[in-house]
């Protein structure tokens, strides 16, 4: 039976690696993998290069003692964790297959242990390189593996204690007493060398020695053997302690699944912060049907995307509010004014990222979207309209408040130049097409690389995903830079002409800014048309199942 479980664990690991490798036949994945590997190589190279010169833990004994102390705290603190469910968190399929099979708890624990080894090994490699700049990842792996077995054991023992009537409060009190007492003892003695402290750190010291890269090999091997033996002991205790293992596992798995879903929803911007917020306007019976999409996305923006904007609003209000209570010093006004101008400039960059209530939110429902009786171009335009409206209102608000502040608080120098209505209007009319451009780009990325943007739950993450993110970020930057070049080229003669004929007049900025503005607006229009056509011909057949999972 154990052999079968080991087989499942090993085959899962092997198939996962093979699947990742097979994906590399697709050029998009290959490119992202190359980027990911290059990035990690650069990080590794830097880390190794640094390893000889700088070590986070340099002095052997002090480093070991400090690390042993931290490990001691960790080993003790886990007893105070509030959860006292027995069992282990598993995936739905694992529960379905393993709990209905004639397996002992020991077999399930062993399966779980084997299953986690690849992830632990990767973590060990990363930690040993990034944190300590060493190559002692085997020792780090032993450390993580044994620690995970210890955690499992403590989890079962917490459940056992609950059965014995010892709940969270008593555990917490005991942990505080142990940590407080040992800290007091350490401070009083002023050294790690007292017998009591040495006894407390006896086991943690082996963990520390096994994982640190700057230890003699013999000592490290000896420590790894002790750590492994401790892990085996924890394993057998976990397997034998009398608790409701299956029941607890189901509860824990459910909790874990819920937490993962919640986290994913938050990351995907699907976490609804204000469920009952009313729609921004009443949807009429007649008119352009695409208004329905704008209406829908505005509701989404209000209910999902308003939280970060609200936080910025509150921060701004606090800044402005408190500035009225500090003495009216020119420097202070300049600092606050500068901050506010910076916020106005950041709206296009942050806004198009935060307000993703467009195709990025709807990509999982693309089947449904494609049945809408509207052309791709109109759907795309309607999809990006809502975040653009919210961004415009936000920018208008920021600019208004900034102008008010700069004009009433006596800012001077370069900052004062932003206080003129012309500048504010100019910034505003430039911001909108740039916001539109950025939003279109981000929506294009979703349609061009849907599987990069939305990943399935089971899909492993790794250097391919790191590479994908790098490629998308880099692509966005390049496209933005390229898109702004024509506007910049036109801006130069425009400003010369404006300077020649409208110098000193309110029409100066209008003449200088309208041609580049028209160019950016034209680019947005072309991009929307192209994206619309792409949407019409978009065949998600190959990507869809992965998106929908």
């Amino acid at each position: 039976m154990t052999g079968a479980l080991a087989y499942v664990a090993l085959m899962s690991m092997k198939n996962r690696i093979l699947m990742s490798l097979r994906k590399l036949r697709n050029a998009r994945y290959l490119i992202s993998a190359i980027f990911g590997v290059a990035y990690l190589f650069m990080m590794f190279g830097r880390s190794f290069g640094r390893a000889g010169r700088v070590r986070i833990i340099t002095a052997q004994s002090v480093g070991t003692d400090i690390m042993a102390g931290v490990i001691f705290l960790l080993l003790v603190a886990v007893w105070a964790w509030p959860s006292d469910d027995a069992g282990i968190a598993m995936s739905e399929s694992e529960m379905q297959f393993l709990f209905s099979a004639p397996l002992r708890r020991r077999d399930i624990l062993l399966y779980r242990f084997l299953r986690s080894q690849m992830a632990l090994l990767i973590s060990a490699v990363m930690t040993s390189i990034f944190a300590s700049g060493s190559r002692n990842f085997i020792g780090m792996w032993f450390f993580f593996a044994s620690l995970s077995l210890y955690m499992t054991m403590v989890q079962q023992l917490r459940a056992r204690l609950r059965k014995m009537g010892i709940g969270f409060a008593i555990r917490l009190a005991a942990v505080i007493a142990v940590i407080g007492g040992s800290s007091w003892w350490l401070v009083r003695a002023g050294t790690f060398g007292t017998p009591v402290i040495r006894a407390l750190l006896f086991l943690p010291r082996f963990f520390a020695t096994a994982s640190l890269g700057n230890m003699p090999l013999g000592l490290r091997l000896e420590s790894m053997a002790v750590v492994a033996a401790f892990g085996v002991l924890c394993f057998f205790v976990s397997a034998t302690v009398k608790v409701d293992f299956e029941e607890g596992s189901i509860a824990l798995s459910q909790k874990k699944a819920n937490a993962v879903t919640r986290q994913r929803n938050q990351q995907a911007g699907q976490w609804i912060a204000f469920k009952r917020l009313p729609p921004p306007f009443r949807l009429g019976d007649s008119g352009m049907p695409e208004i329905a999409i704008v209406w829908k996305n505005l509701i989404a923006s209000l209910r999902i995307g308003m939280m970060p904007i609200l936080i910025i609003f509150i921060a701004m209000t606090v800044v402005i509010g408190q500035s009225f209570f500090v003495p009216q010093v020119r420097e202070t006004s300049n600092v606050f004014g500068g901050l506010m101008v910076m916020m106005c400039v950041l709206v296009p960059l942050i806004g198009s990222n935060v307000l993703s209530q467009d195709l990025r939110l709807d990509i999982t429902r693309i089947e449904y979207l494609k049945t809408f009786p509207s052309s791709g171009e109109r759907i795309v335009a309607a999809e990006i309209a809502a975040p653009l409206i919210v961004m415009s209102i936000t920018e208008l608000f920021f600019l208004g408040v900034t102008a008010l502040f700069l004009n009433t608080r006596g800012a001077a120098g370069n900052i004062a130049r932003f206080a003129t209505p012309q500048t504010m209007v100019c910034i505003f009319i430039f911001t909108i097409p740039i916001c539109a451009l950025l939003t279109v780009m981000r929506n294009a990325a979703v349609l061009l690389f849907p599987a990069w943007i939305i990943r399935s739950k089971e899909e492993p993450r790794g250097f391919v995903v790191t590479g994908q993110r790098l490629v998308v970020a880099l692509g966005n930057l390049i496209v933005l830079a390229v898109a702004l070049i024509p506007a910049a080229i036109v801006f130069l003669p425009a400003i010369l002409i404006a300077n020649r004929f409208f110098s000193g007049s309110p029409g100066f900025l209008a003449v200088a800014s309208l041609p580049p503005l028209a160019i950016i607006a034209g680019e947005v229009w072309i991009a929307v048309r192209w994206l619309g056509k792409y949407f019409d011909s978009f065949d998600a057949s190959n990507e869809l199942d992965r998106i929908m999972t």
């Binding site: 949807l283 007649s286 329905a292 209910r303 429902r365 089947e367 049945t371 009786p373 057949s541």
Partner: protein
């Protein structure tokens, strides 16, 4: 001209031909059952009909409009109901109906919402968000949204999944009523008794190609070959296994 006309429809995923040279029509008021074993190409066919997946070759006409050339006009007459309801998490039941009403430019849609919500037992859930609805209720909402613009062509992919017995009965009645009112309906399901009960004709597909097409009674008669009566289930199993044996 029939409301649904499919001529030599083919759809490939890379090198894999999922649907091969499929041709059929659905008349006004007719319900066509689309059946076949798992992986036969049913969902791909339905998605192509709904304009979701562009066909590799062939023609699909909805009320005379080519789904590729005049997709917008074709989709105005169409409602597609996937097996998995994908609602907007941030819109309430009522807002879903309003959204669809405006999207399909349904005149005076607010007056049509109430009867539909009542028909699908959702009248008490108007303010509920999708997360507060059961799987069956989500399915009902999806179907209520689809019925709002009174489409001439209805495409169902496993419409009874997740519904309770009363919901199943009401859904069957709703589908039959729409057909009586003149809608052309395609219904894909593994529930052969449902297909036999509701459909006038059937298209059996296997490995992406049509292996039988016509009125259900004709199909049964053909399989029986004069040796007594056979059920539709029996006819389906025989025809698909014969086809598999010849491959």
């Amino acid at each position: 001209m029939h409301p649904i006309e499919v001529i030599s429809l083919s759809k490939s995923y890379g090198d894999f031909p999922a649907v091969k040279e499929l041709s059929f029509t659905v008349k006004e008021g007719e319900i066509l059952g689309l059946v076949g074993p798992n992986g036969a190409g049913k969902t791909t066919t339905l998605r192509a009909l709904a304009g979701i997946h562009p066909p590799t070759s062939g023609q699909i006409r909805i009320k005379g409009f080519d789904i590729r050339e005049d997709g917008v006009d074709a989709k105005r007459h169409l409602a597609f109901f996937p097996d998995e309801p994908r609602l907007f998490d941030y819109l309430s039941v009522d807002e879903h109906m309003q959204f669809i009403g405006r999207l399909y430019s349904v005149p005076d849609f607010r007056s049509k919402v109430e009867p539909l919500l009542t028909e699908f037992d959702l009248q008490d859930k108007r303010k509920a968000m999708p997360a507060e609805l059961s799987r069956g209720m989500k399915q009902k909402l999806m179907i209520a949204c689809g019925f709002l613009h009174e489409p001439a062509v209805l495409i169902f992919d496993e419409p009874l999944t997740g519904l309770d017995p009363l919901g199943i009965r009401r859904m069957k009645e709703s589908i039959a009523r729409r057909a009586k009112e003149g809608a052309s309906i395609i219904l894909s399901s593994h529930l052969l008794h449902l297909v036999e009960e509701l459909c006038h004709s059937v298209l059996v597909i296997q490995n992406g190609g049509s292996i039988a097409y016509g009125p259900i009674e004709d199909l049964k008669w053909r399989i029986a070959q004069g040796r007594g009566d056979v059920s539709f289930e029996e006819a389906f199993l025989r025809i698909t296994s014969e086809e598999a044996a010849t491959k």
